[in-house]
Amino acid sequence: MSDAVNAAPTAPRVSASNPLAEAWRTLRRRPDTVIAAAVLLFFAVMAAFPGLFTSTSPRTCPIREARTTPQGWGGDHPLGTDALGCDVLATLVHGVRPSLLLAVVVVGVSLLIGVTLGLLAGFYLGWVDYLVSRTVEVFLVIPLLLAALLVLSLFKGVDLGAGTFNVILLPAVVLILFGWMPYARYVRASTLEAKNLDYVTAARSLGASDLRVMVRHVLPNAIGTVTALLPTSVAGVISAEAVLSFLGIGVRPPATSWGIQIEQGSQWVLGGAPHILLAPLACLVATVLALVVLGDALRDALDPRLAA
């Protein structure tokens, strides 16, 4: 009897022994997570090896084949062609790399800037907070389009080259410049809350330095609100790039992107060729949904309080 009582609490303890194994187990229990991971893996492979998915060049655009409806697998244009006669599938496949790269770079760098500034502002308050908060406000009131035009004129005539990173440099700069503020504000707010908690004082009572308190104790408990923002931010970046490309500072041609495709396709939705819009839109929605699901699952798996 007493053996059974003693054994009961030890059973889950064994499974909790390895946090990575535990995280994986949690992930596996949820099929939606597996599907989401597969979707992202699919697009990652597409970005790395576009040749696997299409042999057509996105730059071969015979105008007489413009707006061909999708022909299904086996046809010359499985997803049809766009307004200029370019193959939709080929454009889609070759647009994955700049689109996803741009999203990752923009969200990643904005996150880094926003979290650092927000953490410093919330932790030290005083003049640091004053500086950061006023800067955030300044950037919030400048319209994105105005700033984009400014950057455009600054870089006019500068040859940025045609490398993988070079084609996304301009939109990345603009979107980062105007994308870090929400992260800073959220992190600042939750830092204000977390830094007065007992465990922060307890860490200090053991002689932890400011940096250690910030990074090890405040940040992990303040980052939660921001992680919920990330998947939607990725979608935001991809569609914002479409607007920028309209102004001529998006992904630099001849490279293509989902944003450009969506922007162009939207003009033909009612013109008898909705597939030009629907194909890239479906990819974007699939990516964002997958990110949302994965983000949720990751949070559940990594937060020890929710795992129990």
Partner: protein
């Protein structure tokens, strides 16, 4: 330091028998031992929207190696703030405006923040009241136990793990080897408080400040945790400052008691004498308001005496003796003059004008009679279902 102090504690370990009857030979008159931590005339002020408020007003105490000092007081009496000041962890709105805290010849309060940090955890550590809140939910217990060791002493991951298991064993957490990998929420309240204690002990501090370490726990678990603290303290000859509002807690483990009221000490004495004969009306009233089952044996029921009124807000301190509005022997003098800490008997200190009279349990000299006072003690706070109260006396 730790090895040496453990040797000493092994040699002098027998001396601990004096715990329950301390006053006798240990601290009569001037203490011979050099105090580990000596706080002198500490004043802490808070900036508030209503102006500057004094939370701690001229507090002094000393902690010696191998002894436990209990600081007793109601909430708001400044007991926690004074310990945060010693640790250098006061919130930004608070400031130490006077006083010193000597730890082995160094005034902690005069140190720059960076220097003070070097003392925290290493020389003086702290156990917090609510262990669930004081342990970071996103780190494993093992990580939190050894974070400071790894950061300061450069312990390797493997060494840190071994040390974490040792620490958990030290505080008697069963199955330590498996439990270092768990998170705070997987521990029960008592076990969490043990983890808290273990993390404070990680770097062998000389002085441990325990701020209401058992308040959040069940009574039975309280006793276990207190016993553990006392045991570890005796073994390592640490100085232990036990902050509490529970006189029952004090009786079991403390050697000396400092009773705080409204930011300053009103009575300081070894634990035995203070229970036998309090030298301050506040201490006496506190002791009387401890429920006891003694009356049940005699078949008489009497109303539990309470202290009328409530502790003064630090922003609106009464004139004269801060306790006079609630005191059952208050005289005219008490309303005007602040009583100094005087010594009515050897090893006793009391901040009462009539300390000697209170100690002898007789009415104050200047008092004619104290007939109307028990009535005042029966203000609406007392429960209505009790039978007739035969005065307020418990003797």
């Amino acid at each position: 330091m730790s090895a040496a102090s453990r040797m000493r504690s092994a040699a002098e370990g027998e001396g601990r028998g004096t715990r329950h009857s301390p006053g006798a030979e240990r601290s009569e008159g001037e203490p011979k031992a050099q105090p580990l931590l000596e706080v002198t005339d500490l004043v802490v002020e808070f900036r508030t929207s209503d102006g500057v408020v004094r939370a701690v007003d001229g507090l002094s105490y000393r902690v010696e190696a191998g002894r436990t000092l209990a600081i007793v007081g109601e909430s708001g009496s400044g007991k926690s703030v004074s310990s945060l000041a010693v640790m250098g962890l006061l919130p930004p709105t608070a400031r130490v405006t006077r006083g010193s805290a000597q730890l082995a010849g160094t005034d902690l309060l005069a140190l720059r923040p960076r220097q003070h940090r070097a003392y925290r955890g290493e020389r003086v550590a702290m156990v917090f009241q609510d262990a669930l809140a004081a342990l970071n939910p996103v780190h494993t217990v093992g990580y939190q136990l050894t974070e400071a060791l790894r950061a300061r002493r450069g312990l390797s991951r493997a060494d840190a793990r071994t040390r974490a298991i040792e620490l958990l064993d030290l505080v008697k957490v069963p199955n330590a080897k498996a439990r270092v990998k768990e998170y705070p929420h997987q521990f029960s309240g008592g076990m969490r408080q043990r983890v808290m204690i273990a993390s404070a002990l990680a770097m062998d501090p000389e002085v441990l400040i325990a701020d209401e370490p058992t308040t959040a726990l069940d009574v039975t678990v309280q006793a276990q945790v207190l016993h553990l603290l006392a045991e570890i303290q005796a073994e390592r000859r640490m100085g232990l400052v036990l902050i509490t509002h529970d006189l029952g807690v004090v009786a079991g483990v403390a050697d000396d008691v400092t009773v705080m009221y409204a930011g300053s000490a009103v009575e300081q004495a070894p634990v035995g004498p203070i229970y036998a004969a309090p030298a301050h009306p506040y201490t006496r009233a506190l002791l009387r308001s401890i429920p006891s089952t003694a009356g049940a044996d005699r078949g008489t029921r009497r109303r539990l005496p309470v202290i009328p009124g409530r502790p003064p807000s630090p922003a609106a301190r009464p004139s004269g003796c801060p306790f006079h509005p609630r005191c059952d022997v208050a005289q005219d003098l008490c309303r005007t003059a602040v009583p100094p800490l005087t010594s009515p008997a050897p090893a006793r200190l009391s901040a009462c004008h009539f300390a000697a009279d209170v100690l002898a349990n007789r009415p104050p000299r200047a008092a004619e009679r104290r007939d109307d006072r028990p009535q005042a003690a029966e203000t609406p706070t007392t429960p209505p279902f009790d039978e007739q109260v035969p005065g307020g006396d418990h003797e």
